[in-house]
Symmetry: C2
Subunit: 557 residues, 2 copies
């Protein structure tokens, strides 16, 4: 059994009502899902509106590497650490996607003594939110083809249907299909395909919605197809938004669980961090801010993608004002950024560390450019050396002007994140945050892309494909120019080339294609190849997953 699973199994979970009570949530506000998970009642949520907000802390990271950074683990550990030092703290996380669980071994609920529980339930169906999103998405798809089948009164051009279907499964065979085969009774044959559910625009709408009414309005705005005259056709014109909203009526309520140390965590929503914005729902974050004096939340991938979108899309649109950010790094990942192969990471290598730490330095600068004060968390691994940690601390202090704190929450739980928690409190209480997005709403769409590329990715320029440039103009002409842009770029590099680690400069960001997400409220700029339906590996984790005679799920970690 893995260490993470052993720790999870050894933990004693409190009844969810006790977790809620400790967070000041009355038991009547709970809609339980089993004994250790509950949704929060809509009426209760509405009643929180006039309470003051707590402090908002974002956990982000350097560019991800195969070495692992531990962003979720640090988010959980920091939340536990804040509670340990007497700050009433609520954690807000994304829900894991079911598909990847069966691909590459590993869940998405933290690790060691910094986990959210019950991990099996959270990693599998949880409260069914993603299934509800899948259903709502595919209902709209069925209504599109059904409309065409029954006479196509709206004049949809079947070559220009842009609403694909989704499954929460890693299934490469469904990436590109032809549907409607088999004769006239099955409709009109056309090209189609499936994305994984986290890539659904319904997921993005769900995560940015203020409430159920706003969700319905967003869903109605989704563009599903174009006519031969290239006029958009929306979900609203198909009368689909009401039924989609009905399918999401329970899903929209945030899910309450606990960490191993008993901290309350709201886990809700989980949009892709490439073609979507990659953070948990606005509803969960706002609820957490009403319940906690501190809220610790995370964003997907590294800070170039995750934090940028958290700030420029989620915070801008939801009116959130982050008070501090934590940038997570590991000795191992910094050495990889410095050119060390994965097999050699266990050996001390101060030179490589010095070469790779430029990646961290740039992320620190970037986050500060949004007016958010930063602390660095170095997530401790057993192979790290004292000299390596000392070097990071020195460079951070002397060259980046930021404090780097060693964290041992994986091994020690809340105690291991206590120092980080104290630094975060000092940052928040220092009142130095003056959050602002990196670009203004009024800038042109291409100007917004250029702004992110040059100021965050440090590119010299962008190269927008002619069709993409024309589409951006068309979006502006159609009244979408005020939307923020959502960059879909490799997570492994500041550039669009996944092999360029460290802090590359002099590159150009190619904008291959742009897509309008009118419901979510952003324009997606696709820079390079972006996979929206993963495949399974040669030896899928699924082959080792089973239920033991004692009724326990084995093989999830």
């Amino acid at each position: 059994m893995s260490h993470d699973l052993a720790v999870a199994r050894a933990a004693t979970l409190r009844p969810i009502a006790a977790v809620a009570e400790a967070a000041g949530i009355p038991v009547e506000a709970l809609e339980p899902y089993g004994k250790h998970i509950a949704k929060l009642d809509a009426g209760y949520l509405a009643g929180l509106k006039d309470r003051p907000d707590g402090k908002l802390v974002l956990v982000t990271a350097i560019n991800p590497t195969p070495a692992g950074e531990g962003k979720t683990t640090t988010t959980v550990g920091l939340g536990d650490g804040l509670n340990r030092i007497g700050k009433r703290t609520v954690i807000a996380l994304r829900e894991p996607s079911l598909g990847p669980v069966f691909g590459t071994k590993g869940g998405a609920t933290g690790g060691g003594r910094a986990q959210v529980l019950p991990m099996e339930a959270i990693n599998l169906h949880f409260t069914g939110d993603f299934h509800a999103i899948t259903s709502a998405h595919n209902l709209l798809a069925a209504l599109v083809d059904n409309h065409v089948y029954w006479g196509n009164a709206l004049g949809i051009d079947t070559r220009r249907i842009v609403w694909r279907r989704v499954l929460d499964m890693n299934d490469r065979a469904l990436r590109a299909i032809v549907n409607g085969l088999g004769g006239g009774g099955n409709g009109f044959a056309r090209e189609d395909g499936f994305d994984i559910t986290v890539a659904s625009e319904v997921m993005a709408c769900f995560c940015l919605a203020d409430d159920l009414a706003d969700l319905e309005a967003r869903l109605a705005r989704i563009v599903v197809a174009y006519t031969r005259e290239k006029k958009p056709v929306t979900a609203g014109q198909l009368n689909a938004a009401g039924a989609m909203t009905a399918l999401l009526k329970d899903a929209i309520k945030p899910n309450l669980v606990q960490t191993i140390e008993g901290s309350p965590a709201l886990i809700h929503g989980g949009p892709f961090a490439n073609i979507a914005h990659g953070c948990n729902s606005v509803i969960a974050t706002r609820t957490a801010l009403k319940l906690g004096d501190y809220v610790v939340t995370e964003a997907g991938f590294g800070a170039d993608l995750g934090a940028e979108k958290f700030f420029d899309i989620k915070c801008r649109k939801a009116g959130l004002k982050p008070d501090a950010a934590v940038i997570v790094a590991t000795v191992r990942a910094l050495k990889m950024n410095g050119g060390v192969a994965k097999a050699d990471l266990a050996r001390e290598n101060l030179e490589a560390l010095r070469a790779g730490i430029v990646n961290l330095g740039r992320h620190v600068e970037n986050v500060r450019a949004f007016g958010v004060p930063v602390v660095v968390a170095i997530n401790h691994f057993t192979t790290d050396t004292e000299a390596e940690h000392r070097l990071i601390a020195d460079i951070c202090r002397d060259e980046f002007g930021v404090e780097a704190v060693q964290c041992r929450h994986w091994a020690e739980g809340a105690a291991g994140a206590e120092e980080l928690a104290r630094k975060v409190v000092a940052l928040c209480e220092g009142g130095t945050a003056h959050f602002q997005p990196i670009y203004a709403d009024g800038l042109s769409l291409q100007g917004k892309i250029l702004s992110i590329a040059t100021r965050i990715y440090r590119a010299d320029d962008i190269a927008v494909a002619p069709k993409a440039a024309a589409d951006l103009k068309a979006f502006e002409a159609a009244g979408y120019g005020h939307l923020p842009v959502c960059m879909a770029k490799t997570q492994y590099s500041f550039s669009a080339d996944p092999a360029l680690l460290g802090a590359p400069t002099g590159h150009t960001v190619p904008v291959r294609e742009v897509r309008l997400a009118a419901g979510a409220g952003f324009v997606v700029a696709i820079c390079g190849e972006i996979m929206t339906m993963p495949g399974l590996p040669k030896l899928p984790a699924a082959e080792a997953i089973h239920v033991s005679e004692e009724g326990l799920i084995e093989g999830l970690f």
Copy 2:
């Protein structure tokens, strides 16, 4: 607002713990899903094993017509009626499928004062069981294509992959597709398609399994493809059964809800009644038998399909011994069987009634052929006349030798089904049941089909397509000859022609195709066109479904 919805809204639901307590279920055995739904804990279920069984009553019906018979309504009403006269009764029902909810207006939770609640939740996602089945099914599909992609060690012939994909959605565009398009990275292009989730063999396995271990064994036996040498490839060979079982670990626990009158109801599983056996899970029925002195359950479609499969597949395999059966009919549906058009049903027509009642008479004979005593329930409609009811009662008594009881549970709840309840108790206590399947395990597969066709459908013969006949021989040679057969035939007629109402004779049943369901444990015989993925109508119910400002789902009824 519809009458059904108004009644449902006016009902005061008891907390699910109170419903459980009344059924003798301790609160510790509950895994709540919201306030009014709970799953029953696996440990508690295991502990019931040595209790004696209650009486088992099947509710079935004449062949369905557009007039409506009210089988679910009568099942609920009878359960309430039995509780009203002091018999501790548990109702066991199928879970509704999500797809059809958005097609033709109407849920599947009964009507009037004979409903199971909360109807919105039951009709939409409920406890996620069907989503779990969808995920398990599609995981297996992804693993099949992934196996081929990574070298195809088992030698799967991609032209002979028989495992399609599923969605719980009415979506005709997905009936026939080509997948794996778009280049080498997406796999090998091949023909594929989607069925609705209720048609999944995973659903049939789920509903026939004794427990989680038996479910895993069944899943492992599923044949997903054949090699070029026509050797079967199973889910077990793909190491898929363990992960599929993990996905179904919670779903397998039966769901407890309540009727408007407060009777406990277990709603669990819902296989198609054409290519599968059409009744709720064996686990739910067995649990109900341990909890109630009486259990009222239903089977899909009319008695020619539903009751026959309930007896020959479910009862045979699970060792259940039904004590009585109720055959539901309405004045309107009998008149339709006698040739009256739907628009003319409100007018008294004794002649048509006399012509159409032969359908009922034959179902009565058929059910008795299984050794199960019968009572007829005439589900009262407001347009019925006294003379019509008298005629039915007379013919039933004088010509069919069976009692016909007028029921008013739709309007009056338990009180309206009290007389039916007393008749059912008398039948059960009479001890005249001596259940036996209509054919023996040892009969050849073709002999079993012939037996059902001649004894139940009253056909002169069957016409088995040459390929189907060869396949049946091959199934026998491969050791599957002992399995029961599952007939996939139109539900509208005893014959394979949906237009032949009443009690046709002299017909021949065509067996177009046969399929092995090795996991479920039956051989499907397809007689005529069987649709396994419905489409949406021109004006889908989805267009009228929405959430009101008060947070209530409108348009589901």
